[in-house]
């Protein structure tokens, strides 16, 4: 009883700092989302789903401050020709952004469609998020649906000539940002979306993704290297027949990150790959929480997560494959691995399978351990100094997850960055 009260008080405190945008075509979805938040309450420490990650700094009314990371590196995806959309501390920056015109894509700013009465995204906004609340509540996503004032809605009708790059800059120490994106891939359409940057001191992002039959979406995200930033991101995806969704997230630094992916395979022969690599040093807590539901037949899902941890860093993985009785011939795979470079770090995992169909092949694996001494010895015997050998093996460990990205140029860029960071830092 006391606990429920505590939760309610915390939820009310958070809500009291926010104002619900009124009017427009999204108003109803926002009200419904608010009511979901009020019913569920914001996450608390005793919630099973938050067993390994303390949600308090993500839910408290005022965001903890975070210093802006100073570095002289170019943004990670700068070398690629992209359509750039820039947000600064969670607010769209028209000047820094490219013109939102690109053949095969229709892009609108969320705050612009808010004032319209009719927009295609109305049928998706908050809809996929609401679907993703069962069986596990994700109140931070509902909070986002209710209160996020900015973001983009992207409708892909063809195969645009270049990727869309969402850039999240962090400038204010005390920024508390919420962004909500809706991405709809029409039948047979295909696009690559790149995301990078820390976004804010505290960042709450929710992406709703609807991929129609035969559509394809490739998402690659690099979460920025600010040490003190906090982020809770949600991704809700719904896949049609023969559609493809591939998503990779790179996280280096950040005091707290919780990335949730909730994917439903509704059309036969759909494919989803969710991958992630993270490098944590010191005060670093990284949580990947994935929930994949197989509804249709003959679909493939693949989860590959690699974590490198040192100096007391914590890595969390909670992955679930749910195979409904209709999803015969499912091919489900999940692997989560941690490489712990010293004795102070932690790896906490809960890889789950829940299966109701009999003709399926599902497997999951989890491993955790120190760097392979024999491999180190081998490299040293070949004249590689121990420190370089450690970096090399660490990189090789991470590269397995990075190579889940289909585009080799992007793989090379990320591996090159990781190499720089590891060698400079280790």
């Amino acid at each position: 009883m006391a606990l429920a009260n505590l939760k309610q008080t915390a939820t009310e405190a958070r809500l009291s700092e926010l104002t619900l945008p009124v009017g427009g075509c999204l108003a109803e979805a926002r009200r419904a989302a608010l009511s979901r938040v009020q019913t569920m309450g914001l996450p608390g420490r005793r919630d099973e789903y938050w067993k390994y990650t303390r949600p308090d700094t993500l839910t408290q009314a005022i965001a903890p401050t975070a210093a802006v990371f100073q570095h002289d590196e170019a943004p990670i995806f700068d070398e690629f020709d992209c359509l750039k959309i820039v947000f600064v501390d969670g607010v769209f920056d028209a000047e820094a952004s490219d013109d939102l015109q690109l053949e095969g894509v229709q892009i609108d700013r969320l705050s612009d469609i808010e004032s319209q009465d009719i927009h295609w995204s109305k049928d998706l906004y908050g809809v996929l998020e609401a679907r993703g609340q069962d069986p596990v509540p994700r109140p931070l996503a509902a909070l986002n649906t209710a209160f996020a004032k900015d973001g983009v809605v992207i409708r892909v009708t063809g195969k645009p000539s270049k990727p869309i790059n969402l850039i999240y800059n962090h400038q204010s120490e005390s920024s508390d940002a919420m962004l909500h994106h809706v991405i709809r891939i029409d039948a047979g359409a295909e696009v690559t979306v790149l995301e990078n940057g820390p976004a804010a001191a505290r960042f709450n992002k929710c992406s709703e993704i609807d991929i129609a039959d035969g559509g394809a979406l490739h998402m690659i995200c690099a979460q920025g290297r600010d040490h003190e930033r906090r982020a809770a991101t949600h991704l809700f995806a719904r896949l049609g027949e023969k559609s493809v969704f591939k998503c990779f997230t790179l996280t280096v630094n950040g005091v707290l990150t919780r990335n949730e992916a909730v994917v439903e395979l509704l059309g036969d022969d759909a494919v989803v790959h969710i991958a992630g690599a993270c490098v944590g040093d010191g005060d670093f807590h990284h949580d990947d929480t994935v929930f994949i539901t197989h509804v249709a037949e003959n679909c493939e899902s693949r989860q590959v997560f690699k974590k490198v941890l040192r100096n007391g860093a914590t890595g969390v993985f909670q992955g679930k494959i749910l195979v409904k009785s209709t999803a015969q011939k499912t091919d489900g795979y999940q692997i989560s691995q941690a490489l712990m470079l010293d004795d102070d770090s932690q790896f906490l995992a809960k890889p789950e399978l829940e299966i109701y169909a009999d003709d399926v092949a599902c497997s999951h694996g989890t491993t955790s351990g120190a760097i392979d001494e024999e491999a180190l010895f081998y490299l040293q015997s070949r004249g590689v100094p121990r420190r370089d050998a450690t970096n090399l093996l660490t990189l090789a460990f991470l590269a397995e997850a990075v190579s889940e990205i289909g585009n080799q140029d992007i793989v090379d860029t990320i591996v090159c960055r990781l190499e720089n960071w590891l060698i400079r830092r280790l």
Binding site: P351, L353, Y356, D358
Partner: protein
């Protein structure tokens, strides 16, 4: 041609599986009841009932105080709801907490004085209560050539222990094997020292309930350096209606000792579900080893999910000394609901824990079972092999924890949990928790879910085996890792059970 054959196998497979196992198996074999005059405590749970149980067992005051304290704690606790099992709310006041055959009112001095009707019950179950060299738990074994192995049996019938065989011979070796009620009276110093030290009174809702109302169970003490001269076993039988069985087992393996303990259980087929909440505590000192094997065959309910035993069990072994070793092996085929996680606390350096499990659910059975391996000491090792088979409308969940504490340097764990589904109305789930807090610890977890493998079947058939034999072989092969870990007597029974419990799994 070969391809065509293969396709036919694929289409026919589930039906064939069922047919094959139906051939081997039958319905639940132990569903009959013993007609005997019983003495009950009044229904419901109050401090008076706790006092009554204590008084019936002629317990000293300290034991009663312990129970009453547990009862107070129980009142403040809530029933856990996290397991993937779904059953109607249990009315804890609508149960009998104590039932004993009238003939047991005056304690028989030996098994010879026990009511023949009761002895007949165990004979019918195939449990030898005579001190003779026969295999336990296997029907028809009386006619089989004796292996020269002895098994001492403690027979628990509803709330009381009827007696224990081979007591004298065990005493000669220094081994104490008796009912827990007797141990409380005869060996209070041992019970006081160890009871509740592995599973604390307030550990969980059901363990707390058990601490308040446990009526009987077995007690084992193996002194330092003694290798127990025979296998010990307890056979639990629930007979009375609306009666819960709450047994408590306490096993202490002192320094350098060894004991193998077997546990079996059955109950009559009744329409109303019955409650079973047991606690097993095992203490293993330096260099000692305990093997604990269970064949759980409580009444699973009928094919529509009516009746059956609700089995809520807390089992835990504490490897206190260095190089202590525990091996849990379980074959779970019975019970309507199973909630059971035999666990290992690996406290001593170089201690080892092993957990081998087969859980088979059919019809409307639900099993949520697994283990906890808590690595506290250096160089501790654990191994988990779990096989879940789900058929009919059943739900089968593996739930486990592997925890590597910061001081558990060079600890190792290997976990493998595989699930097999027969039919598409059942479910197989895996919920492992892995917590690693030092980098020299190595953890490996693997899980797979599949159906009976067509290629394996095809291979067996191409070697001239008929389909029924092939399916039986594949299913038994799936369970092989676990069956091999069982003592021989149990392995035979378990193999039969594997077939029987899948009976009627489709259609």
């Amino acid at each position: 041609m070969a391809a065509l054959d293969q396709t036919q196998v694929k289409e026919g497979i589930d039906q064939e599986t069922v047919d094959a196992v139906r051939e081997v198996g039958g319905a639940y074999k132990h569903g009959w009841a013993t007609d005997i005059e019983m003495e009950y405590a009044p229904k419901g749970l109050t401090t008076d009932i706790v006092r009554l149980i204590s008084q019936k067992n002629e317990e000293p005051q300290w034991m009663l105080d312990w129970r009453l304290q547990a009862y107070d704690r129980w009142l403040t606790k809530e029933e856990p709801s996290w397991a993937m099992v779904d059953y109607p709310e249990i009315d804890f006041q609508d149960q009998y907490y104590y039932a004993r055959p009238k003939s047991m009112e005056v304690k028989p001095k030996s098994l010879d004085e026990v009511d023949p009707k009761l002895l007949e019950t165990y004979k019918k179950l195939g449990i030898p209560l005579k001190e003779q060299m026969i295999l336990a738990g296997v029907e028809g074994a009386e006619n089989a050539p004796a292996e020269g192995r002895k098994v001492a049996v403690d027979a628990v019938f509803d709330s009381v222990s009827l007696g224990t065989t081979f007591k004298a011979e065990l005493a000669e070796a220094g081994v104490i094997f008796c009912s827990i009620s007797e141990a409380i009276r005869e060996h209070p110093e041992l019970v006081k020292k160890y009871l509740g030290t592995v599973v604390p009174v307030s550990d969980n809702f059901y363990a707390t309930l058990n601490s308040a109302v446990f009526s009987d169970g077995s007690f084992v003490y193996v002194p330092p350096g003694v290798r127990c001269p025979m296998e010990l076993s307890t056979y639990f039988r629930i007979n009375a209606e609306n009666t819960g069985q709450f047994e408590r087992t306490l096993i202490i393996a002192d320094k350098g000792s060894y004991v193998s303990y077997l546990e079996g259980c059955t109950a009559p087929a009744r329409d109303i579900a019955q409650l079973h909440a047991a606690v097993v505590e095992i203490i293993i000192e330096e260099d000692a080893e305990v093997k604990y094997s269970t064949v759980q065959n409580w009444y699973p309910g009928d094919e529509n999910g009516k009746g059956g035993i609700y089995n809520f069990v807390t089992k835990r072994a504490d490897c206190r000394g260095d190089r202590a070793k525990i091996m849990w092996t379980q074959v779970e085929t019975g019970s309507a609901v199973t909630w059971k996680y035999p666990s290992c606390i690996l406290r001593g350096d170089d201690s080892q824990g092993e957990f081998y499990s087969i859980a088979i659910t059919n019809n409307y059975q639900q099993a949520d079972t697994g283990t906890k391996m808590v690595h506290l000491g250096k160089n501790t090792k654990s191994r988990i092999v779990s096989k879940g088979i789900s058929a009919g409308h059943a739900q089968n969940t593996y739930r486990g924890l592997v925890s590597m504490h910061p001081k558990a340097k060079n600890a190792r764990n290997y976990t493998q949990c595989d699930s097999l589904l027969i039919g598409n109305k059942c479910g197989a789930h895996t919920v492992p928790y892995i917590e690693v807090k030092n980098n020299s610890a190595r953890v490996e977890h693997e899980a797979t879910t599949s159906k009976v493998d067509d290629d394996q079947l095809f291979y067996c058939r191409s070697r001239g085996m008929d389909e029924e034999a092939a399916v039986a072989l594949v299913v038994n092969g799936f369970c092989k890792d676990v069956l091999q870990a069982l003592p021989m007597e149990f392995a035979m029974e378990a193999q039969q059970l594997v077939a029987i419990s899948l009976e009627g799994s489709v259609g």
